[in-house]
C-alpha cells in the first residue's frame, strides 16, 4: 500500500472490500541493503558482547566485531558498485524507503572507510599513562559516575572502560549509511535520529575534562533536538502538501507532473506556503547537521568538548552523511523548487565560507580552530551543491571523500600532543612542536596545507572540483567569495604552522605521545589519501563522476 493511498484513506472512502487482501507482503532486497544490515547486526552483537563477555576480553571482542563489520560492509558496498548498482542497476529498494544508487554507494563507502579509521582512534589505548596498571583509552571509565566523585575513582581503580563506545559507533554508522540513501522522509528522519543519539552520548564520554565533555553533549543534544524537531515539522508540512513521504512522489507534485490528482491532493498542492515552509524546515535541519551558518553555533563547543576521537569521527562522517542527504533532498525532491532555494543557499554558502574563515582567525584552541575550519569547508561544499549539475554532485562527493580523511587524520594528530592535563589543545602549547617532534609537526602541516587547499594536496583537488562545478553552474561570484575566504582561511592554517616550526618551544610544553599502530594507521591513511588525491586524483574523480546521478 503506497503512502499516497494512506493519504487518501482519511479523505475519501476506501473502495476495497477486504483490507487484509490489499496488504502486500513487504519485499525487501536484502542483498542491496547488506552494508546497512551487516553493521546493524554487528552493533547488536556488540551489545550482546557487552552483556555476556567478561570485562577483561570485551575490548578485544568489540574491536574485532566492529572492525570485521565495517570491513565486510565496505566489501558489500564495493560488490554492489561492481555489479552496477551504482549506475545501470541503480534503483529504489525496501518498498521505496531506500535508494541504492551512485551517490548512496559512494557516500556509504566513504562513511565506512572513515568509520574504520575512526574506530582505530577510538581503540587507541597507549596515549594516556596507565591508570592503576590498566591501559586506558580516551573514554570515561564509567560514564554514569559523577565527575570527581568517589565512584569515579573506584571505577578508574577497578580499570573499567567504556567499551560501549564500539556498538554506539556502529549504531551511528548505521544511521549515517541510511541517511544519504533515504528515499522517503520518514526513513530520513529515523536515520537522522539513529545516528544523532549515539553521537550525543559519545560526546559526553571524555575521560579527561569530563564536565566540559558533558556540557558539550548537553548543548549538542538540546540544539540537535531542536533541529530534529524542525525537520520533523517540515516533514509533516511537506506531507501535508504532497500527500506522500516518498521523495519521488513529492518531486512530482512539486514539478506538477503528478499523474493521478486526488481531490485532497488538488486541495493541498496549490498551497505554496506548506511547500516552502516545509522544505525550508527540512533543509534547516540538514544544514544544522552540516554545520552551516547560521546553524553552526554548536560546532565549536561540541568539537572542543567531545573526546577527540569522537570529534574526528563526527566531523568527518557526519558531514559526509548530512551533505549526502542534503544533496538528495535538493536534487531529487526539490529540483522543481530550485529557483526558490538557490538564492537562499547562495546566501548560506557565502555567509558560511566567510564567517567560518574569519571567526577561525581569533581562535586559540586547536579543536575550536578546526571546528571553524570545518564550518568554512561546509561553505565550500555548499558552493558545489548549488551548481545543480551532475558535475556539482560528483565534485561534492569527491570533496567529502577528500575532506573526511584529512579531518580524521588531523584530529588523530591532536590526540597525540599531550601534557599532564591530557591533550594540550591550547595553541600556545603547540609552539615549537616542529623542533621537538619534526615528524608529527610535518604530518600536521600536511593536513593544514590540505585544509588550506595548497596544490598537490587533496584539499586543492577538492576545492578546484567544487569551484569549477560552481563556476560552470553559473555561480561565479560564489567562486570569488570562496577564493577570498580561502585566502583568509590560509592565514590561520599558516599561523599554526608558524607556531609549530618558527616559535621557541616552551620549557613546560607538551610532549608527543608515541601511539600504538592503531593511531599510526589512522594518521598514515590520512596522509596517504591526502597526497594521492592531490597528485593523482583522476581515478577517484572518475569514481565520483560515475556516481554523480541520483535515482529517482
Amino acid at each position: 500500500m503506497s503512502a499516497t493511498a494512506v493519504h487518501s484513506l482519511w479523505t475519501t472512502a476506501t473502495t476495497a472490500a477486504d483490507p487484509i487482501a490489499k496488504i502486500d507482503a513487504p519485499k525487501i532486497e536484502y542483498g542491496q541493503l547488506s552494508p546497512v544490515l551487516i553493521v546493524i547486526g554487528a552493533a547488536i552483537i556488540g551489545i550482546l558482547v557487552e552483556a555476556f563477555v567478561p570485562r577483561r576480553s570485551r575490548y578485544h571482542a568489540q574491536m574485532f566485531v566492529s572492525a570485521v563489520a565495517l570491513v565486510a560492509a565496505f566489501a558489500a558496498v564495493v560488490a554492489l558498485a561492481a555489479r552496477g548498482y551504482g549506475t545501470t542497476k541503480a534503483g529504489i529498494t525496501a518498498m521505496g524507503a531506500v535508494a541504492v544508487d551512485g551517490p548512496a554507494l559512494f557516500l556509504q563507502g566513504t562513511i565506512l572507510l572513515t568509520s574504520l579509521v575512526g574506530l582505530f582512534t577510538f581503540a587507541e589505548r597507549r596515549l594516556d599513562p596507565e591508570a592503576h596498571g590498566n591501559r586506558v583509552d580516551s573514554f570515561a571509565a564509567q560514564a554514569a559516575a559523577v565527575p570527581g566523585s568517589e565512584s569515579e575513582q573506584k571505577a578508574v581503580k577497578a580499570g573499567f572502560t567504556t567499551t560501549e563506545v564500539f556498538p554506539l559507533l556502529l549504531f551511528a554508522v548505521v544511521g549515517m549509511l541510511v541517511f544519504p540513501a533515504a528515499n522517503d522522509l520518514l526513513t530520513l528522519f529515523v536515520a537522522l535520529e539513529v545516528f544523532s543519539l549515539p553521537l550525543y552520548l559519545l560526546c559526553a564520554l571524555a575521560r579527561r575534562k569530563r564536565l566540559m565533555s558533558q556540557e558539550a553533549a548537553v548543548k549538542y543534544f538540546l540544539l540537535g533536538a531542536f533541529a530534529s524537531a524542525f525537520t520533523l515539522f517540515g516533514i509533516a508540512l511537506l506531507y501535508g502538501y504532497a500527500g506522500s513521504m516518498s521523495y519521488g512522489t513529492i518531486a512530482q507534485v512539486v514539478d506538477g507532473t503528478v499523474q493521478n490528482v486526488t481531490p485532497a491532493l488538488a486541495d493541498t498542492m496549490g498551497n505554496d506556503a506548506l511547500l516552502l515552509v516545509g522544505s525550508a524546515l527540512i533543509v534547516m535541519g540538514l544544514l544544522f547537521k552540516v554545520g552551516a551558518v547560521p546553524f553552526h553555533m554548536w560546532t565549536p563547543d561540541v568539537y572542543q568538548g567531545a573526546p577527540t576521537p569522537v570529534t574526528g569521527f563526527m566531523a568527518a562522517a557526519t558531514k559526509v552523511a548530512a551533505f549526502g542527504a542534503l544533496l538528495r533532498i535538493l536534487y531529487v525532491v526539490l529540483p522543481g523548487l530550485r529557483w526558490d532555494w538557490r538564492p537562499v543557499m547562495w546566501g548560506v554558502a557565502i555567509v558560511t565560507m566567510l564567517a567560518g574563515a574569519i571567526v577561525a582567525i581569533t581562535q586559540t584552541d586547536i579543536k575550536r580552530l578546526l571546528a571553524y575550519s570545518s564550518i568554512a569547508h561546509a561553505g565550500f561544499i555548499l558552493a558545489g551543491v548549488i551548481a545543480t549539475t551532475p558535475e556539482g554532485i560528483s565534485s561534492v562527493l569527491f570533496y567529502l571523500a577528500a575532506y573526511s580523511f584529512v579531518t580524521i587524520g588531523a584530529f588523530a594528530v591532536v590526540t597525540l600532543v599531550r601534557d599532564a592535563g591530557g591533550e594540550a589543545t591550547h595553541l600556545s602549547k603547540w609552539a615549537g612542536l616542529g623542533r621537538r617532534s619534526p615528524l608529527v609537526a610535518a604530518v600536521f602541516a600536511v593536513f593544514l596545507l590540505a585544509f588550506a587547499g595548497i596544490p598537490l594536496t587533496s584539499g586543492f583537488s577538492g576545492k578546484f572540483a567544487v569551484f569549477k562545478a560552481a563556476a560552470e553552474g553559473g555561480a561565479a561570484p560564489l567562486v570569488v567569495v570562496g577564493v577570498i575566504s580561502s585566502a583568509i582561511a590560509a592565514f590561520f592554517y599558516i599561523r599554526v604552522i608558524v607556531l609549530m616550526f618558527f616559535s621557541e618551544p616552551r620549557p613546560e610544553g607538551p610532549t608527543v605521545a608515541v601511539p600504538s599502530p592503531l593511531t599510526m594507521t589512522a594518521i598514515g591513511v590520512g596522509v596517504a589519501v591526502t597526497v594521492v588525491l592531490g597528485v593523482a586524483p583522476q581515478y577517484f574523480l572518475d569514481l565520483a563522476g560515475q556516481a554523480g546521478v541520483f535515482v529517482r
Binding site: A487, I494, E504, Q538
Partner: protein, 523 residues
Amino acid sequence: MSFPLLTVTAALPAVGAIATAAVPAARRTAAKWLALLVSLATLALAITVLIRFDPDGDRYQLTESHSWIADFGVRYELGVDGIAVALIALTALLIPFIILAGWHDADPLETGSSRWRPTQGFFALILAVEAMVIISFEATDVFLFYIFFEAMLIPLYFLIGGFGDRAHEHGEKTAATQRSYAAVKFLLYNLAGGLIMLAAVIGLYVVAGNFSLTEIAEARANGSLDMATDTERWLFLGFFFAFAVKAPLFPLHTWLPNAMGESTAPVAVLITAVVDKVGTFAMLRFCLQLFPEASKWATPVILVLAVISIIYGALLAVGQRDIKRLIAYASISHFGFIIMGIFAMTSQGQSGATLYMVNHGISTAVLMLIAGFLISRRGSRLIADFGGVQKVAPILAGTFLIGGLATLSLPGLAPFVSEFLVLVGTFTRYPVIGIIATLGIVLAALYTLVLYQRTMTGPVKAEVNGMPDLRVRELVVVAPLVALLIFLGVFPKPVTDIVNPAVEQTLSDVHQTDPQPEVEAAK
C-alpha cells in the same frame, strides 16, 4: 617516444631533494655534497636542453604531453620556447652557486643554543624550489603551471622562516620574530595572489574548456574561441595580479624587502634571482598569449606602475641602512624595468626584458652573495657598521664593486645591454615613460656607489680590521658569475639569439608590430 628531457630536468632536483632530506642527521657534509652534485647534474641537463633547442625551429620544443586529470581537462604538457630555455639555464646555473654560498648557513650553532637548523632540510628545500621553478618554466598547461606556481611557496616559506642570518643586530629573539613575520608576509601575499589567480584559472576553464596554453592561444588567434571583452579583462587581471605579486610590482612589492632582509643571502638570491622570474616570465607566456586584447587594454596602467616601481624602488634603496634591504629595493626597481619592457610591446623591449631577467639574476646573485659573505664576517647587516673593507679584503671589495656596477648598468657589463634595449623599446612607443624611467639609472648609480663608498672605502673600522678576504669556496662562487657578467656584457648574442624568435612570436600573439621609425623619405 623520445626521451623526456624536460621532465627529467625538473624531476632530478626533486628526487635530489628527497634524497638529501633522507641523509642521516650526522652525515651533514654528505648531504651538502649530494645537493651540490644534484644541482650540477641538473645544470648539465639544462645545458643539454639549451643545446637541443633550435631557436629557429618550432615555437615549443622538446614537448611532452600526457593525460593527467581528465576530469579537470588537465594535461601534463611541457614545452620550452627560447625565453623558457634561457630562464631554465639561469636557474640551473645559479642553484649550484647558491648551494655553495650557503654551505655553512645551515650548520648547527654552538651547542646549547635553542636554534634548530637541520642542514639536510635547508639543501633539500633549495632543490625542491629549483624543481618547482623549472617545471613552472616548462609547463604549457595552465593548471600544471598553477600547481607548481603555488606549491613553490611552501618550501620557500620554510627557507625564509627557518633559516636566517646568524648575525642580527637586535639579538636572536627579535630575529626569530622578524623572520617569521617576513615568512608569513611572503606567504600571505603570494597565496592571496595565487588564490585570485585560481578563480581566473577556473574562469578560463569555463570559457575555454581546457587548460592547454597552445590550444587556447591557437583558438584565440584563429578566432574560434571568442571571449567577451569584460570576461577577458577580468581573467587577465586575475592572472596578472598573481604575477605582479610574485614579480613584484608596485604596490604589491612590500613583502620582498622583508623576505630578502630576513633570509640568508643565498635564499634571498633564490627568491629574487630565480623565483621572482617566474612572475615576469608568466606575464610574457600567459598574460600576453591568453589575453592579448586585455593586455593591450591594461598596458597604460601597468607601464605607469612599472615606472613607479623603478623610481620608488630606487629612491627607497637610496634611503636604506641595511645592505640586504637596499639590494631588495634595487631589485624592485629592476623588476620595474623588466615589466616595462614586457608591456612596451616592442621587440626590443621584450627581448631586453627577457635578457634583463637573465642578467638581473646574475648581477643580483653576485652582489647579494658577496654582501652575504660580508655580513657573516662582520655580524651585522647595517651599512654604518662597515668602512674601509677594500683595504682589508681587496678581492671581496673588488668583486662587490663589479656586482654593484653591473647593478647600475655600466656599459660593458651584462645588465647594460638589457636595460638599454628595454629603454629603447619603451621609448619608441612611449617616449615620456621611457624618459622618466631613465631617471632610475641615475638613482641606481647613487645607491650603488654610496653603498660601496660607505662600506668599502674610508678609514678601516675597528670591527672590520682583520676581516679575511674571500675564501676559496667563496671565490669559486663569485669568479664564474663575474666572468659571465663581463662576457654577456660584451657579447650578449648567444642569449639574444635564443630569445628573439620567441619574443617575435609573443608579439605577434598580441598583434603588435614594432613602430616604424619615422624617417624622411630620401628618394
